[in-house]
C-alpha cells in the first residue's frame, strides 16, 4: 500500500484518538457515558444514527455482494435501510424521546421495565442485546481485519487488534459521547467519499451504459435490479431491513440522547439522505469492478469482500483511495463503538437490575465491560469464516426480532403485556440462533431463499401480539405519563 493511503488512514485514526481524549474529559457520569447527558442536537444525532447503521457489512459486504451477484443485495438491504430511518422516526421517535424524559432512562432495558413493570422483560432484553452485540461486533472486527491487512500489510488478526485497540481507547474512556462524535466525524467522511467515488467508479468503468453492456455480456441478470439473487431473499431483506431498523438498539437508543423534541424534525431526512448517498458508493464500485473483471482488467479475488479495497487501491488516485479506506474504517468503527457501549449497558445495568442488583460505580464498571466485550468479540470473530455481509444480516435479524416487538410495538399498543414481550424476545432470540447455526451445519429448515432474520421477525411479531391477547388479565395499568409517551 502506498504512503499517501497509509498516511491518510493514520491521520484518520489519530483524529479518532483525539476525539476519544476530548470525550473522556466530558464523561463524568453514567448518564454521560450511556446517553451523552441527553444533550445531542439534530445533526449530531442523525449522522450518528446513520453512521451506526451504515457499517462494515453495508459497505464492505455490500460492495462484495454487488460485485459477486449484482444489485440484489443493494436492492433488498441497502435501499430498505433509508426507508427504515423514516419508518423508525414515525414509529418511535417521539415515543422514545418522551420515555427518556421520564428520568433515569438510559437503556432499552429501562424503557421495557417502565413499560411493562417487569424486571424479567428487562433481563431477557438485556441478554438478547448482549448476545447480539457479541455477534454483530464480531462482523465489525472481521471487516476491520480485512481493511487493516490491506492498508498496513499485517495479518487480518493483527490488523483487527490494531483497530480494536484504538476503538477500545476512545470507547472505554468516552463512552457514547466518544461514539457519537467519532460517528459524526466518520459519517461526514463516508458521505463525502461516497459522492466522489460514485463519479470516479462510473468513469473508471467507462460510463454507465458500458458497465451495463459488459454485465449483460457475461450474464444479463447482473444488469437487472435484482442481480442473480433469489427474489424471495430480496423481499425478505426489504421487510427485515426497513421495518427491522426500528429494532436496532444502537440506533433507537439515540432517541434517548436528544436534548429536545424539536430536534427530531429533520433527523430522519438527514440520516436517510446520508445513507442513500452511501448506497451510490456500493452500487457504483460493485458494478464497475465486476464490469472491469469481465473485461479482464480486474484481478482475481480470494473473496468478494476484497473487491472494494482492491478497486480503490488499483483504480482510484491515492488520496481518494486513502479517504475511501478511512471512510470504510469509519463505518466499521462507528458501528463498533455504539455496540460496545450498548452491550456494556445491558451487562452492567439491565441484567443485574433484572435480579434486583444495583451495580455500584456504574461508570467504572461500564468501562471495564466495554473492554471485556471487545476482547470477547475479537475471539468470536477469529473463529468465524462467513462473509461479512451475511454475518451482518444475522446480527441485524437477531436485534430486529428481539427488540422490535417488545420495544416498538410495546410503545404503540396499550394491550401489550409483559408475557407477550418476554415470549417474543425469547422466541426471536432462539429462532435466529438455532436456524442460523442449523444452516451453518447443513440443517436447513426454512424454504430456499428465506432469510432467517425476516422469518424470525415475522414470528416474533405474531407471538408478541397473540400472547399479549391471551394474557390480557395480566395487563398492567399504565400511568398518565406512560400513556402520554405512548401517544407520541
Amino acid at each position: 500500500m502506498n504512503g499517501i493511503i497509509t498516511g491518510i488512514v493514520v491521520v484518520y485514526l489519530f483524529i479518532c484518538i483525539l476525539i476519544g481524549i476530548w470525550a473522556t474529559r466530558q464523561t463524568k457520569s453514567t448518564s454521560d457515558f450511556l446517553i451523552a447527558g441527553r444533550n445531542l442536537g439534530m445533526f449530531v444525532m442523525a449522522i450518528a444514527a446513520f453512521s451506526s447503521i451504515q457499517s462494515g457489512f453495508g459497505l464492505l459486504g455490500g460492495v462484495g455482494q454487488t460485485y459477486d451477484a449484482g444489485m440484489g443485495f443493494a436492492a433488498g438491504v441497502l435501499i430498505a435501510a433509508p426507508l427504515g430511518f423514516g419508518l423508525t422516526w414515525f414509529l418511535v421517535g417521539k415515543r422514545m424521546w418522551m420515555m427518556g424524559s421520564k428520568g433515569d432512562v438510559y437503556t432499552l432495558g429501562d424503557v421495557v421495565e417502565k413499560r411493562y413493570d417487569s424486571k424479567a422483560a428487562r433481563g431477557w432484553l438485556g441478554i438478547a442485546i448482549t448476545l447480539g452485540v457479541i455477534g454483530y461486533l464480531g462482523t465489525q472486527v472481521q471487516a476491520m481485519g480485512i481493511i487493516m491487512h490491506s492498508i498496513f500489510g499485517v495479518s487480518p488478526k493483527v490488523g483487527a487488534l490494531i483497530g480494536l485497540t484504538i476503538l477500545a481507547f476512545y470507547s472505554v474512556g468516552g463512552g457514547i459521547i466518544a461514539s457519537v462524535y467519532t460517528d459524526l466525524f466518520q459519517g461526514i467522511i463516508m458521505i463525502i467519499v461516497s459522492i466522489v467515488i460514485f463519479f470516479i467508479a462510473i468513469n473508471v468503468g467507462g460510463g454507465m451504459q458500458t458497465i451495463t453492456q459488459n454485465l449483460q455480456s457475461a450474464d444479463p441478470l447482473l444488469a437487472t435490479s435484482f442481480g442473480t439473487y433469489s427474489m424471495v431473499s430480496i423481499a425478505c431483506w426489504i421487510f427485515l431491513f426497513s421495518l427491522g431498523a426500528a429494532g436496532q438498539p444502537h440506533f433507537i437508543n439515540k432517541f434517548l440522547m436528544i436534548k429536545s423534541p424539536k430536534q427530531l424534525k429533520w433527523g430522519a431526512f438527514t440520516a436517510g439522505i446520508a445513507y442513500a448517498i452511501t448506497v451510490l458508493l456500493v452500487v457504483s464500485i460493485g458494478l464497475s469492478a465486476r464490469s472491469l473483471y469481465i473485461q479482464g482488467k480486474f484481478p482475481e479475488l480470494a473473496t468478494p469482500d476484497d473487491s472494494l479495497v482492491v478497486f480503490v487501491t488499483h483504480f482510484t488516485p491515492s488520496v481518494i483511495g486513502g479517504l475511501v479506506l478511512a471512510g470504510l474504517l469509519a463505518a466499521i468503527m462507528s458501528t463498533g463503538s455504539g455496540f460496545v457501549t450498548l452491550g456494556a449497558a445491558s451487562i452492567v445495568r439491565d441484567i443485574p437490575r433484572a435480579f434486583n442488583i444495583k451495580v455500584k460505580n456504574e461508570l467504572m464498571m461500564n468501562r471495564i465491560v466495554v473492554l471485556a466485550l471487545l476482547i470477547i468479540s475479537t475471539l468470536f470473530s477469529f473463529y468465524m469464516d462467513t462473509l461479512v455481509a451475511l454475518l451482518g444480516v444475522f446480527g441485524w435479524g437477531t436485534f430486529a426480532s428481539t427488540v422490535f416487538p417488545a420495544v416498538v410495538l410495546g410503545l404503540i399498543w396499550k394491550r401489550a403485556t409483559k408475557q407477550g414481550a418476554i415470549a417474543s424476545i425469547v422466541i426471536g432470540l432462539f429462532l435466529n440462533f438455532l436456524l442460523e447455526i442449523g444452516q451453518k451445519y447443513g440443517i436447513v429448515i426454512l424454504p430456499e431463499g428465506v432469510v432467517v432474520g425476516a422469518f424470525s421477525l415475522a414470528i416474533s411479531i405474531m407471538t408478541f401480539i397473540i400472547i399479549s391477547l391471551l394474557t390480557q388479565k395480566e395487563n398492567v395499568r399504565l400511568d398518565k405519563e406512560m400513556l402520554k409517551a405512548m401517544e407520541g
Partner: protein, 138 residues
C-alpha cells in the same frame, strides 16, 4: 374496539400474510402485504396529526399506493427484462433505473415526509386524543 387495536390486528394479518409468503416461497406474497405495512407505520406515526387534520390520512394511504405502483411496475418490467437488451435509461436497464431513480429516492421522500408532517406541539397534549382518533376513523 379501539383504533389502535384495529391497526395492530391489521398489522398482524399483513405480517402473517408475509410469513405465509415466506413459507410458500412467494416473493409477491411477502412484499405486497408489506407495502401496506409501510403505510400503517406512517399512520401510527401521524396519529395525532390526523386527529387535528383528518384529511392527512391520505398521506399514509398515498405512500402505500405509490409503493404499489413502483413495485408493480418493477414486477412487470422484470418479467421481460432479460430479453430487453437494447433499451437503456441513463445507461441502465429499465429495472435498474426504476430502482435507483424512483424507489431509492422514495425512501428519502418518506424521511422528508416526517419533517413536513412533524408537529412538535403534539407532544404536550392530553391522553384523551386516542379516543378522539377512534371517532375520527369511525
Amino acid at each position: 374496539m379501539h383504533v389502535s387495536d384495529r391497526i395492530i390486528y391489521l398489522f398482524l394479518f399483513l405480517v402473517g400474510l408475509s410469513l405465509i409468503g415466506m413459507i410458500l416461497q412467494s416473493w409477491r406474497m411477502i412484499l405486497y402485504p408489506y407495502l401496506i405495512v409501510i403505510g400503517i407505520t406512517i399512520l401510527i406515526g401521524m396519529w395525532k396529526s390526523i386527529i387535528h387534520v383528518p384529511k392527512k390520512i391520505c398521506i399514509p394511504i398515498s405512500v402505500s399506493i405509490i409503493y404499489f405502483i413502483l413495485y408493480g411496475l418493477l414486477d412487470i418490467l422484470s418479467l421481460d427484462s432479460i430479453a430487453d437488451k437494447d433499451y437503456y435509461i441513463f445507461g441502465m436497464t429499465p429495472t435498474m433505473a426504476l430502482y435507483l431513480i424512483a424507489i431509492l429516492p422514495s425512501a428519502v421522500i418518506i424521511c422528508l415526509l416526517y419533517a413536513i408532517t412533524f408537529t412538535h406541539g403534539n407532544m404536550s397534549n392530553n391522553t384523551n386524543e386516542n379516543h378522539e382518533l377512534d371517532e375520527v376513523i369511525k
